[in-house]
């Protein structure tokens, strides 16, 4: 049977309002009606939630249920599936349905405060809209002196989410979302009758990274955010579609803005990527754009002090400084659009003539660079890369060093859906089973930090873990520093036929790989070591030749600045405390002869830089993020802001000045649009890609232990001290309390608080017993205390000592 035939046999034909229509079996009547253009009013119904039939707003008349007999009473069209030969009359053709809907609407409004003029939802409110389209103009309830049920105005159900119980129509969308989608059932209906209300538990806070979605799907103004409440009217807002910049998921968002300010962000609707959900970070963390520390004009250092400068002057000073500094390294960071990353990549090769460029402003390794070149770059759906749809359809998924709930919210929700709807089996190679893993119904494959390679190699012989071509392996960013792990993962994918993807943490990471912000890769996956690839790139750039040896990676760039081999640095959005060795990075900044910083806000880099360029944030420029799937996610500029130029424009300006000084050539583009066009023109490399070298004989003996040291496991929580969450205190208040996780046996020796001592400092945290953590492993959140673990404690995977804080 062809697929068309299968499709045909699965169709059910029914008649709605006299119009015959064929829809797939199992379709709900309410959605079949949409297809003939009839919108049946509804509240509790949501296409991504299980039907509940609670609000009764969508009642329709069914004169023939498909068996020749009428349904005796109006039916909730959101709960009944279509049947062959069924006849449905909606409010458009049936008096009964129309009266039933008007009756329900009248009931819904009797206890609703009708405070639309002061309600955040007014103007975009399904209740308001449908009361106009399917309700009476006059209220018999208030005309007869009816007394409404009242509640005190909003109560907090979390620091961020406020509940106005009077407005609530008890559709249970929020509680069902929390239970069915997010897996955080911390809100539930309590009480009964007209006193029924959404409630929280006494001792269990509404702790969910996805809580903001409940506001968006609330069909009335019952749920509002502390952040947006009373800020604006929907009809004053201009909406621009965009892509979330906080992780590598590529989630579609909608930016609602007014007079040059972002007022709020909502989830976009993209069934292929994030469906209709985003994390609270994507939704609420945009105030960093409007902090007092935003840079708004170029600065140059004169007599030790930064002073404002014009753009042309700054371009010239930067070019002169770089030309005089000798060899220059480029550290673009991982938050760039693909266009800007392409500009850095081009700038390094064309203007500076170097391969010393590395976007990885975090712990990394040579093995990772090889892995990215061999297994990641250019890998998309078209050539065997997994997609969100593959996650949902997979038989099994293995996560290696990846905590989706913290690092990639859309992946987390999709995996949870796969597990709950399709029983997809999920395993996680990690130091302990996180709550997020439990919510995905996953199973832990325990691995000490640094020992992941041998665990992954062992999976080939694990009869319980079944991998085949319908499986997906997702490997996280922190595996970069686990010796052999990435190689082992690549081998596992090859031998099992499973699809493999690398899931970085930052929105620009994958785009930076694709555009060649790596010492071993040119744009489009062209290997530096491949002569024909170099010729190809040089031709596209219009230069005579390109350096033929791979450049220094970020660690080596830092070291080379320290040793004087490099004199200059061009630094993009890099937070020193994110880097593998924050102290060394800071020392390099001081040691460098000349530092050019391209930044959004004042940082430790801009404070010591010789030239500081303000760059445009994602709202002020069009661009593309490439997500973990390799899917290009283009977005337009939200604002036109002349104060901030995209990185590409700044680099183009500096390159033009450099070429005027006789060094290198101009980039060949200035705007983001031109950069994009040039990038597309250059295209992907169609030659051989490099293969992954076997790592040097297992160096995993470097695993720490002995001397009372335990191995440090760490990753960043979704909500932590990250600078892009600055300025939103309500969001920050919903972050999880930082704890130090140890095994029960270790906890017994510690008491309530523990001090961890590493080679870079010490951190004191409350102890939390974690069952499946090994006795010689300790876990702490990477950036929830002080300056973060890298600056304050030790490098991940290294040994730390534990001491009861009161001992």
């Amino acid at each position: 049977m062809t697929s068309a035939e299968i499709e045909k046999t699965d169709l059910v034909t029914l008649t709605i309002d006299g119009v015959q229509i064929s829809v797939p079996a199992g379709t709900l009547v309410i959605r079949a009606a949409e297809q003939i253009g009839v919108q049946v009013p509804r509240f509790c119904d949501h296409p991504l939630l299980d039907p509940v039939g609670a609000c009764r707003q969508c009642l329709v008349d069914v004169p023939d249920a498909g068996n020749g007999r009428p349904m005796p009473k109006p039916q909730a069209s959101c709960t009944i599936p279509v049947a062959e030969g069924m006849v449905v009359n909606t409010q458009a053709t049936s008096q009964v349905a129309d009266k039933a809907q008007h009756g329900i609407m009248e009931f819904l409004l009797i206890n609703h405060p009708l405070d639309c003029p002061m309600c955040d939802k007014g103007g975009e409110c399904p209740l308001q809209n449908q009361a106009m389209s399917n309700g009476y103009g006059e209220s018999r309830f208030s005309a007869s002196g009816g007394v409404k049920r009242t509640f005190p105005k909003p109560i907090n159900i979390s620091a961020q989410i406020l509940l106005d119980r009077e407005r609530c129509i008890l559709c249970a969308r929020c509680t069902r979302f929390s239970e069915q989608i997010a897996g955080d059932p911390f809100i539930e209906m309590v009480e009964r009758g007209a006193l029924q209300q959404v409630g929280i538990y006494e001792k269990e806070p509404f702790e969910s990274y996805f809580s903001g979605n409940t506001i968006q799907i609330c069909p009335v103004g019952a749920l509002t955010s502390a952040d947006y409440r009373f800020r604006s009217r929907p009809y004053d807002l201009v909406s621009t579609p965009s892509i979330a910049e906080h992780d590598a998921c590529g989630a579609a968002v909608r930016v609602d803005h007014r007079r040059g300010r972002v007022m709020r962000r909502l989830s976009g609707d993209d069934p292929d990527v994030n469906e209709e959900w985003i994390t609270d970070k994507d939704r609420f963390a945009f105030w960093y754009l409007f902090g007092d520390d935003r840079l708004s004009y170029p600065q140059i250092r004169e007599d030790g002090e930064l002073r404002p400068a014009s753009w042309p002057e700054a371009f010239a000073v930067a070019a002169r400084g770089l030309a005089d500094a000798g060899a220059v390294g480029v550290l673009p960071g991982g938050r760039l659009t693909a266009e800007d990353a392409f500009a850095y990549s081009t700038f390094a090769r064309v203007a500076l003539g170097t391969n010393d460029v590395d976007f990885r402003a975090r712990p990394h390794s040579q093995e990772e660079a090889d892995f990215l070149a061999a297994e990641v770059v250019l890998r998309t759906d078209d050539n065997g890369g997994p997609t969100y749809a593959d996650l949902e359809a997979a038989n099994s998924v293995i996560l290696v060093g990846l905590e989706p709930e913290d690092e990639a919210g859309s992946i987390f929700l999709r995996l949870r859906k796969a597990n709950s709807k399709r029983r997809t089996r999920i395993w996680s190679v990690a130091p302990y089973a996180t709550n997020g893993l439990h919510k995905m119904g996953g199973t832990l494959i325990p691995a000490r930090p640094g020992a992941e390679a041998s665990v992954v190699n062992g999976l080939t012989h694990d009869t319980d873990v079944e991998l085949d071509s319908a499986s997906v392996i997702l490997v996280g960013e922190r595996m970069a520093t686990s010796p052999g792990a990435l190689t082992a993962v690549a081998r596992l994918a090859r031998t099992s036929g499973a699809k493999l993807a690398w899931v970085p943490r930052r929105a620009g990471d994958r785009g930076a790989v694709e555009t060649g912000c790596l010492p071993n890769l040119l744009p489009g996956g062209r290997p530096v070591t491949d002569a024909s690839a170099r010729v190809d790139a040089a031709t596209a750039w219009g230069v005579a030749g390109l350096p033929d040896r791979p450049g220094r990676d970020a660690d080596a760039i830092i070291a080379a600045v320290g040793s004087g081999d490099l004199g200059g640095l061009v630094v993009g959005g890099v937070d020193p405390d994110d880097t593998a060795d924050p102290a060394a990075f800071r020392a390099a900044l001081d040691a460098a002869k000349f530092v050019v910083a391209l930044e959004l806000r004042q940082t430790d880099v801009t404070r010591v830089a010789d030239v500081v360029f303000p760059v445009a944030p994602v709202t002020d420029k069009p661009g593309t993020f490439v997500n973990w799937e390799g899917r290009a996610r283009e977005f337009p500029a939200v604002f036109v802001n002349p104060n901030a130029l995209p990185d590409a424009r700044v680099l183009a300006g500096v390159a033009e000045e450099l070429s005027a000084l006789g060094q290198g050539a101009a980039l060949g583009f200035r705007t983001s649009g031109e950069a994009h066009a040039r990038m597309v023109e250059m295209g992907p490399w169609d030659g051989e890609r490099t293969s992954l070298p076997e790592p040097a004989a297992s160096s995993s003996s470097a695993v720490v232990g002995g001397d009372g040291e335990v191995a440090l496991a760490t990753w960043k929580l979704l909500l932590d001290n990250g600078t892009m969450q600055d300025g939103e205190k309500y969001l920050r208040a919903t972050a999880r309390t930082p704890v130090c996780r140890v095994s029960a046996a270790v906890a017994q020796t510690l008491g309530a608080m523990v001090t961890l001592e590493g080679d870079r400092g010490s951190v004191t945290l409350p102890v939390e017993v974690t069952d499946d953590l090994a006795d010689d492993v300790v876990w702490v959140p990477a950036n929830s205390t002080g300056n973060g673990v890298l600056a304050d404690l030790a490098s991940p995977g290294s040994g730390v000592r534990l001491k009861g804080a009161d001992q």
């Binding site: 009764r56 009931f107 002196g145 009758g193 029924q196």
Partner: protein, 435 residues
């Protein structure tokens, strides 16, 4: 006249310590169980089908047919759940039965579970009646000790465990899917159907939910035969049932009679309406069934005839009201009950009952308007058949039926500027002849 009664379930209620296992067995109890255990389970289902037993919880669905819906090829365990959450205003048959003769229920549970091949049964008892919970618990313990429950019952190889569960006091939990939610530890709110409990009920497994009286009737059917049972009652409503008379009758109580008996006969058996008064209106099956009046005294009390009279047989909770009773006040009381008990899940029931009470209160106080009657009827039209479960439907019954029969009395409240009745006159402590 007394021979119109057919005491089967109630036969031993007057015995000394009727609730004890010894008393029950002395009167022939648990013999039907031994008979049943020698039968093929399907034959028991057939016998119950042939007997014509219809659900005694109000809806009257054929019990044997319900059992037959259980998919025996389903790999999940099967469950029997006894709905003992008797909360319908006026209904007082299951609680007296469980007090006076709990073993009739327990024996019925074992036979019914055996028939549907369940190894675990639950008796969900209304939480407020702690004394009944204790009594049924004691009876179950006695039955375990005597080998009527537990492993390998009477050597048959059949195992059954019975759990006595006390509800938390919500009327809605009498609705079978809300009861299942409650039994699973969730909030008592009705579930979306399909799937029906016969396919995915308790813990998503095939489940039969029956009323106490239905299950308690099973031992007599097995013991005496389906024909014996079917010989009583009317053509489509066979067998006997407990008729609970309450209110303004001389001797209120439970009268067990064949279905099809008339209220006139039952009131005679109960010693007539309160002395010196006459029947004004009555409910055939609790407050959720439309009220009837004296003109319906000769309606046979079976499912068909009562439906023909515009009401429902329901639970045979015959609440008798004499002419001292204000119908508006009664209906207001009932409506307040429904408002209080509405679970809140669906809009029409939750908001509708909230509003109905306000309109009725004004009418009772004489501050309403005549057009409020139209509003009331329209509200009821917007609730009936629009609510998620039958609770909302039931809430409209007393209102629409009372306006049908006593519209003038509603209007009298308005012309009178308040209720024309002395509420004391309707009380039992009222002086004889008070008006």
């Amino acid at each position: 006249m007394a021979d119109t009664l057919t005491p089967v379930l109630t036969a031993d209620w007057a015995d000394e310590q009727s609730w004890k296992l010894a008393t029950y067995e002395r009167n022939g109890g648990y013999r039907a169980l031994r008979t049943a255990l020698r039968m093929a389970p399907d034959d028991i289902i057939t016998a119950v089908k042939d007997s014509g037993l219809r659900g005694r919880g109000g809806a009257g669905f054929p019990t044997g047919m319900k059992w037959g819906f259980i998919p025996q090829d389903n790999p999940n365990p099967k469950y029997l759940v006894v709905n003992a959450d008797e909360s319908e205003p006026g209904t007082c048959k299951d609680i007296p039965l469980m007090m006076a003769s709990p073993h009739t229920l327990v024996e019925g549970v074992v036979i019914s579970s055996f028939a549907i091949r369940a190894n675990r049964a639950f008796i969900y008892i209304r939480g407020e009646v702690v004394h009944v919970v204790r009594r049924v618990q004691a009876a179950v313990a006695e039955a375990y000790a005597a080998g009527h429950l537990g492993r390998n019952i009477h050597g048959s190889g059949y195992d059954l465990d019975v759990v006595v569960h006390a509800g938390a006091g919500a009327y809605i939990c009498g609705e079978e899917t809300a009861l299942l939610e409650g039994l699973e530890g969730r909030r008592g709110q009705p579930r979306l159907r399909p799937p029906f409990p016969a396919v995915a009920g308790l813990y998503a497994s095939p489940t039969v939910i029956n009323n106490v009286e239905s299950i308690a009737s099973v031992p007599s059917i097995v013991g005496n035969g389906a024909e014996w049972f079917a010989s009583m009652g009317t053509e489509k409503s066979k067998g006997f049932g407990i008729f609970s008379l309450s209110g303004h009758v001389a001797n209120p109580g439970q009268y067990e009679a064949p279905l099809g008996v008339t209220l006139r006969t039952l009131i005679d058996l109960a010693g007539g309406v309160r002395h010196g008064h006459e029947l004004k209106f009555w409910t055939p099956g609790g407050s959720s069934t439309p009220i009837l009046t004296a003109e319906h005294l000769d309606v046979p009390l079976d499912f068909e005839a009562v439906a023909g009279a515009g009401s429902m047989l329901g639970t045979r909770a015959l609440q008798i009201f004499d002419e001292t009773t204000c119908v508006v006040r009664s209906v207001l009381r009932w409506t307040e009950f429904y408002k209080h008990e509405s679970c809140g899940k669906c809009t029409p029931c939750r908001e509708g009952t909230y509003w109905l009470v306000q309109v009725l209160t004004k009418l009772e106080n004489g501050t309403g308007q005549e057009k409020d009657l139209g509003v009331l009827l329209d509200q009821c039209d917007n609730i009936l058949g629009r609510a998620f479960c039958a609770l909302g439907d039931g809430a409209t019954s007393p209102i629409t039926s009372s306006i049908e029969y006593f519209r003038d009395e509603y209007l009298q409240h308005l012309t009178n500027g308040g209720c024309p009745f002395d509420p004391v006159a309707s009380t039992l402590f009222a002086a004889e002849g008070a008006r």
